[in-house]
């Protein structure tokens, strides 16, 4: 068992959960909410596209890609902050 005390573990997990929830809220908006209103959004023109179509064909996808890169950075920052990130070399041994 890795030596990390209980309070650090709890603080780290609380922040990790917070990040997960934030990520999934953004995910929910762009996976479901905007597409529910696609019909109304189509009245808006974006880059020449009807916005509802654009979000499904491209917009949501771009947001997902950016979201995961952002998530990976944030989670690593949380790990470092609580001293539970991997040591740089330990990865090679696993």
């Amino acid at each position: 068992m890795t030596h990390v005390d209980q309070s650090t573990r709890e603080a780290h997990w609380a922040k990790t959960k917070g990040l997960m929830i934030t990520t999934l809220i953004i995910w929910f908006i762009f996976s479901y909410l905007v597409h529910w209103f696609a019909d109304s959004l189509n009245a808006v023109s974006f880059l020449g596209f009807p916005l509802g179509f654009y979000m499904a064909a491209q917009g949501s996808l771009v947001i997902f890609v950016v979201l995961i890169f952002w998530f990976a950075r944030r989670q690593h920052a949380i790990d470092v902050e609580h001293g539970v990130a991997e040591e740089e070399t330990s990865g090679q041994q696993n």
Binding site: L24, W27, D39, V62, I68, F71
Partner: protein
Amino acid sequence: MAIIKGDFIDNLPKVYGLYTGGFVVFILLMAILEQAGLGADTIGILFVAFTVVIYATIGWLSRTMQVDAYYVAGRQVPAVFNGMATAADWMSGASFVAMAGGIYFGGHGYIAFVVGWTGGYVLVASLMAPYLRKFGCYTVPDFIGTRYGGNLARFLAVCVLTLASFTYVTAQINATGTIASRALQIPFEVGVWFGLLGILLCSMLGGMRAVTWTQVAQYIVLIIAYVVPVIWMSNKQGFGLIPQLVYGDAVMRLGELETLHGVGTKPTEAFAGLKALTVAHYEAGTTFAAKWKFVTLVFCMMAGTASLPHILMRYFTTPSVKAARQSVAWSLFFIFLLYFTAPALATFTKLQVLDPNLATGIIGKAITEVNALDWIQKWSNVGFLAISDSNGDGILQINEFFMRGDIVVLATPEIAGLPYVISGLVAAGGMAAAMSTADGLLLAIANALSHDLYYKIIDPKADTKHRLIVARVLLIVIGACGAYVASMKLTSILGAVAWAFDFAMSGLFFPLVLGVWWKRANRQGAIAGMFLGLLSGTWYLYMVKWGGMDPWLYIDHLRFGIIGASVSLVAMIVVSLATAEPDEETQRMVDEVRIPKGESVLSSTH
């Protein structure tokens, strides 16, 4: 093999850079030979044969007799390359061949697949991949079996995995057979076995290590093959070099053309397997039913993505937990490159066919004139399209033009009048897409059966050599079963693909998520969740598809995972709470999984 050891990893960018350059040179060579008079058929054969030989060579060079190399590629695949391999693993024959065609016919409603098959990676990154990597398992049932304990839980996970992956792999072998038979001019039944041979050459000798390095090579081929024709075509139509960003005008123009041609008028005739265009391109549903169908399909594809073992196991191969997270991001980036191109391709192809101002437009032209076109003749000869003057006015109406969705990708180069070398390239790309997914799926099944069923349950004392031989024999047996089922042509390609997602989410989604995120989840709960989830999902599929039952709330056979996963969640929570909480050792295991630091829960060779 020397080139695969040590410095091979450091030299990856160089190796694959050279490979990409070599492939481009090959394309140019084919283009020159075409100008010199080489026949279209020969070019098709050379493209498919050349690429398959390269994959097989990589597979042979990556052969191994080490357990961790065979199961998890030695856990040394860098994030970016694992991203490419995952993208190839992910994008199947269906994505490559059928997706643009689906959008062509289904419009906005169909794009739910595009949203679902990308957004699922947010779930993979935030809920699953990094934790499974920390766990150090070889297979997905390995996680279930160790986290929850006991052979029954492990066995049920193997069952779900096998059912979902096998459903999926028959569709892929079917696709390799279709492409091989067309490009090599052999019967479909022979093409299926040829495709299987290529797939086995890539995976059998080197397991995950071989599959990883061939998948990277296959990604490069498939993305070039998908994007180049679209860019070329858009250039011809004056939409510029990055058509994905500027096809808004084409989308709007389609709206006008749909009114002009009366899209939506039902055809009065029918041709088996062919469809006429009746759905508007960008208009979204206004009714509750249409909106609900969109979001439920998105949800099924997303939860399925996050439960499909052949995808999850790719993240077991990264050097660290951090790399696993980054790798999910890179995977989605590489997938995105194809998925945001597909709607553009569907739009351009539709414009080509519908716009009377373009030389290629056929709707509204005289039937005799259209029938004289080369590509119309070629594809109607093989039963991919049909033209019939239903109202007898001598003019081709939109509801008199029938075709198969696959044509959008396969025939677009010809419709747009591009040289044949592009068609050969597209065939090679489709082959790469179908082979890479089939590789990953076959390996996922064979690994689960050899590691979890044979080694962990039946014979825990088996030595390394024995285990790896069993794994390979299983690979051949499962591949042969898949090819046999595929040669019977049971369902259309896409029906089976959506089912695989529903099976996976019914049985595995909540046991995997709660295994990390809910410490209280215990063995009894997981067993109930997997068993009842899979049972109810399968029952619902049967009743809706064959049993004559009316779907509840528009949840049809493509969405049965909603039923399965809901039952699985409820069963898992109720049974877990009704039985004793997991022992201290298990709880500590969960604590360990939640932090990246330290040794993995399972040792590196277990």
